[in-house]
Symmetry: C2
Subunit: 344 residues, 2 copies
């Protein structure tokens, strides 16, 4: 079993190191191959994703990514390389069109959330975000006087992500909210039509609701327990999943899995960024990274038992009082790792 | 003084009627001209906005709109007329590029909000949403196999909305958060550059912060008191202002003003929709409509004293216990109107 790790920038390397130890614990004989990526790769090679790294990722069984970016590479120069290009590039090149972001606030962390306990209680949702289409990858133009971005979707792109959402719902509470802006956008009207066609043809047993993106942003806050699976396009998924992340009390808690080609590797990464402001201090919360490692075990290596064991260890550590800074406590990265190890 | 009212659909007519009484109370001799709009106009004339209604709006001192839309006009037929086209059409035709959405949760309503009291306390923000550009008005395409929407902005469109935001901040706490997705979108990179140019040239006394839209969606929930003025493009403004609206406990509380051409009328409307599910029952919360009427008095007729008096009456009625259904109470529309009238 070969895993490619991309520690990236900022707190990336600090949270990646203990995750690799977890991998070695769960996957006997695992071969872990580390590569530079993002800003670090720009510094070393002038580009956020080199051909070598992409080739290595393609031969891996799964890719574990920590985080990219930082003020050092922030620029208004449109021709300068940017760390995010590595992220967008690897998603696209590996065909990772389905981004899964589970949100299940833990009772132990209700106090860290901005939302009231009675609103959070029972929340358990999965955001399925389309990851390789839409305005992220459409044609861009820029002149002295104006700029444009094209949002483009094919029927096929919508069809396949809809199937991922309906399949996921069957293993959960059998409810899908499809989120769009069909009262304004043509891509949304196509989205809605295709989602209903896929539903009618192959998933009529799953309950399907349409919701407008503005309304969904409200409902996520006002009444999050109504959701089971949310499926939406790339940009809406970016915004809504970050909003949903706040239900968990901290962005430092949320994992994600990006899947696509059944023969190729999946990519597993925390939802949070590289937090350059706290990098190098050993205080970063590694739990989203550990939970991403659990998703790697589950979706990347079909090791469900091990994935569940790791998730349960994280839960138990939190129940026992583990709190990193973002959760209002004082535990550092090492302490968090040790607390989780205790329950393995 | 001539005011054009557009009651529209659903609960629109019910909440518009008492708002007209408030107008007549505050503006002696006001001439109120009512027109069909939205779905009602589709039924009567086959289009959501007729030339006659647009012409009437153009000659008014201000336009007061309630709400449009409903399941009756929901359709997947791309060529069928839709109520929202009236809304988008009148915004564009009147040049209303600046949509102002103030969000100031009232302590009396903290219990109705999903957020904790300590998170809400002190929240007072103004969302300035660009309203006549972006993906709402860009070219759309649709074929059997794909669809697209173009997001397009000119430098001039960004420049003028940035000025509105900076001016507004000067009359408030002098802080502007400019929200974009500059790590992905070209229109966002242009947005960021133009906002900084306008800032450097004419508003260096105002504090300016850039924020990514996904991060802003989180911060609105986690830490809303950090914001004073938020300025953003059309689609982001739609999503973020609805999320921010939930801080107030109910969408039924939020007014908006859409301004543009200094010689033309402004448009004033609640942020909420037409709520077809409760239409005709006399239970709709009219307070967002009343607060929109106050914005009309302030921005449309330069009657600051009267605007403040109406806002204060709404506050006092809530302090005295007024609660419509959406706020967890039992008061109907008439009762809400009577409760507010008591304090005028
Ligand atoms: C860094 C950025 C390009 C990225 C995105 O918008 O997809 C991030 O926000 C995410 O959600 O993974
Ligand atoms: C009805 C819809 C077209 C409209 C919009 O998206 O602008 C509404 O959501 C709003 O915010 O006024």
């Amino acid at each position: 079993t070969k895993i490619v790790t991309l520690p990236g920038d900022g707190i990336g390397p600090e949270i990646c190191a203990p995750a690799v130890e977890l991998l070695e614990h769960f996957v006997p004989g695992v071969e872990v191959e580390e590569h530079v990526f993002g800003g670090a790769s720009i510094d070393a090679h002038g580009t956020a994703l080199t051909d070598e790294v992409l080739a290595a990722a393609k031969t891996a069984d799964a890719v574990l990514l920590a985080a990219v970016g930082g003020p050092k590479w922030d620029t208004t120069d449109p021709s300068a390389p940017r760390p995010e290009q590595g992220l967008l590039g690897i998603r696209k090149a590996l065909g990772l069109y389905a981004n899964l972001r589970p949100v299940r606030p833990l009772p132990a962390l209700y106090d860290s959330s901005a939302l009231k306990r009675e609103i959070l209680d029972g929340t358990d949702m999965l955001v399925v975000r389309e990851l390789t289409g839409g305005i992220y990858f459409g044609e861009k133009t820029r002149t002295e006087t104006d700029a444009s971005d094209l949002c483009h979707y094919t029927v096929e792109e919508v069809d396949r992500i809809a199937r991922v959402a309906f399949e996921a719902a069957r293993g959960r509470r059998n409810l899908v909210h499809s989120v769009d802006k069909a009262n304004v956008m043509e891509t949304s009207r196509q989205w809605r039509q295709v989602v209903h066609e896929v539903h009618g043809a192959d998933f009529a047993d799953v309950q399907l609701e349409d919701q407008l993106v503005d309304s969904c942003a409200m409902q996520l806050i006002a009444n999050p327990t109504q959701f089971d699976v949310i499926v939406t396009e790339n940009l809406f998924g970016d915004i809504l999943s970050d909003a949903a992340a706040m239900l968990s009390g901290s962005l430092g808690m949320l994992p994600s899995a990006s899947l696509g080609n059944p023969d190729g590797p999946g990519l597993f990464e925390p939802v949070h960024g590289s937090a350059p402001d706290i990098a190098g201090q050993g205080v970063a919360n590694p739990l989203a990274m550990f939970l991403s490692t659990a998703m790697l075990l589950r979706h990347g290596l079909a090791m469900e038992t091990e994935a569940a064991a790791l998730e349960s260890a994280v839960d138990q550590a939190l129940d026992a009082g583990l709190r990193t800074r973002d959760l209002g406590g004082t535990a550092g990265t090492d302490e968090a790792y040790a607390a989780v190890r205790k329950y393995l």
